[in-house]
Amino acid sequence: MIRKTNNIPTRVGFGEGLKELGKKNKNIIALGADITASVNMNLFAEEFPERFYSLGIAEQNIVGVAAGFALDNKIPFFSTYAVFSALRTTDQIRVSVCYNNLPVKIGGAHAGISVGADGATHQALEDIAIMRVLPNMTVISPCDATQTKLATIASVEQVKGPAYIRYGRDAVPNFTSENQEFIIGKGQELVKGNDITIIATGHMVWEAIKAAEELGKNKILARVINIHTIKPIDKEIIIKAAKETGAIVTAEEHQIMGGFGSAVAEVVVANNPVPMEFIGMNNQFGESGEPEKLLVKYKMKSKNIIDAVKRVLQRKK
């Protein structure tokens, strides 16, 4: 059984990863968008003040400034709430960063509905869909704080071009090991099982693990796969799951349309079609509330995954 150690926000992992990168690599630059502490970039800013630049509340400009640094062989990071870092800036990211194929690393903070009380304007539920359609972009969505740290480091050490790292605000179970193998583009099988596969990303991986444990009590053996790299996606692990388990449920804290589940479905239908169900936000905006209550209201809990598993198993041949 997978155990959590304690609850930590994934943004802490981003901050630690960035600071560690700063120590290892003098070319790492960080750009602040007036939300520096909240996205945990302050750790880097305090340690390397000469490599931190404050650019104020001007997200379109910050993307271009990052691209300019990258044109001169630096590796710039910027981060703000994902609604702004990925959405306010989409054209800048598309042309200045992706079309030029520059190593700009973008932190998408406060992703998902678990942002909570700030409400719909601050809950990024569209960023995966938008970032993953951009050519040259790598999209990473780690499942806990430890993995976010490794993902942040990998976004430089394993990715040459642009990368988007998605992480959340709320403290969530930390359950992966510092010593795990973290390879960009490679999914992780966390729970074995052959009746059905639950493929999850980000915060929803823990919910998937809990769902599998519950299902196990009813003799349904669910495989759980963590896809931390949404693009390039691990086709092999998905096709294998489709072949071996014959049914798939995806789970993400994001709109269902165009998001992570869609990315998985693209692989499944092209290679080995099996029935699928999708857990995520259903074409709606969020609202204010405690993260836990929002996840319940908008059906992104382990219970909803279990219901989806039962539905999809009825369609399984």
Binding site: I29, E50, R51, Y53, L55, G56, A58, Q60, N61, I62, V63, G64, V65, A66, A67, G68, F69, A70, L71, D72, K74, P76, D91, Q92, R94, V95, S96, Y99, N100, N101
Partner: protein, 274 residues
């Protein structure tokens, strides 16, 4: 910077660049004739006098960076690069055709020597210039960033975000030039969306502001030299230009912003070049 060429020689080069713009756009059958012709004198001044660059070694680290924010005037950039020796002039006739290195708007991924940046979405080049200028300063490098902006482009809010940040970081190694031709696609800039008082705006944003006749090579060069001696501020040169400059039939006519001459028209235009 070098004074290898006399003003008379530079004037001839500008004429040659205008000819190449007309030939390449008419061969392509589409493209932005007006803005490209209007900027021929600015690009001649840059590539044949102001810029430290090396067509034989386009990517050497200490070169000055020419950042074209208005990607639609790519034909003037291509013509200037070809005339400066970055690639053969015959390649200019491949503009906008399948497989070309001369994309409709500059595309770095097509590996044309001398292209610093892919651009074409207005309002982004000044931010990139700020990043480059900050990077040069952080490494104590002497090279400079020369940015070309359109006047209509200044309606983009992101330009002013960038302007604010350039002054905040005292980027005296950044020199932007505004192609002040007073026209854009829909018509006169003051009718579409007035950008005046323009010099006051840049001053209020903390910039050193210079003016020149952007179709007078001697003035352009002198103005860039003044800009190069600025110690604490980024400089903007508001360069008064005429859209379609050099071809009397189309000078000042905004309808030529994005129109290509036919091949016959191009011949007539080339004969009337002054």
């Amino acid at each position: 910077m070098d004074n290898k060429y006399t003003i008379l020689e530079l004037t001839d080069i500008a004429k040659e660049i205008r000819k190449d713009i007309l030939l390449s756009i008419s061969e392509a059958g589409s493209g932005h004739t007006g803005g490209s012709l209007g900027l021929a004198d600015v690009f001649t001044s840059l590539y044949f006098n102001i810029l430290n660059h090396n067509p034989q070694n386009p990517n050497y680290n200490n070169r000055d960076r020419l950042i074209l924010s208005i990607g639609h005037v790519a034909p003037v950039l291509y013509a200037a690069l070809a005339n400066a020796g970055y690639f053969s002039k015959s390649e200019l006739l491949s503009l906008r055709k399948l497989g070309t290195r001369l994309q409709g708007h500059p595309g770095k991924n097509h590996n044309l020597p001398g292209i610093e940046l892919s651009s074409g979405s207005l309002g982004q080049g000044l931010s990139i210039s700020v990043g480059l200028a900050l990077s040069a300063k952080s490494d104590k490098k002497k090279w400079k960033v020369y940015t070309i902006l359109g006047d209509g482009e200044l309606q983009e809010g992101s330009i002013w975000e960038a302007a604010m940040s350039a002054a905040h970081y005292k980027l005296n190694n950044l020199i932007a030039l505004v192609d002040r031709n007073h026209v854009q696609i829909d018509g006169q800039t003051n009718k579409v969306m007035d950008i005046e008082p323009l010099a006051e705006k840049w001053k209020a944003f903390g910039w050193n502001v210079l003016n020149c006749n952007g179709n007078n090579i001697a003035e352009i060069i002198d103005t860039y030299k003044i800009a190069n001696s600025e110690k604490t501020k980024p400089t903007v040169i508001i360069a008064e230009t005429v859209m379609g400059k050099g071809v009397p039939e189309i000078e000042g006519n905004y309808l030529w912003h994005g129109k290509a001459p036919s091949k016959e028209q191009a011949k007539l235009f080339i004969n009337s070049l002054r």
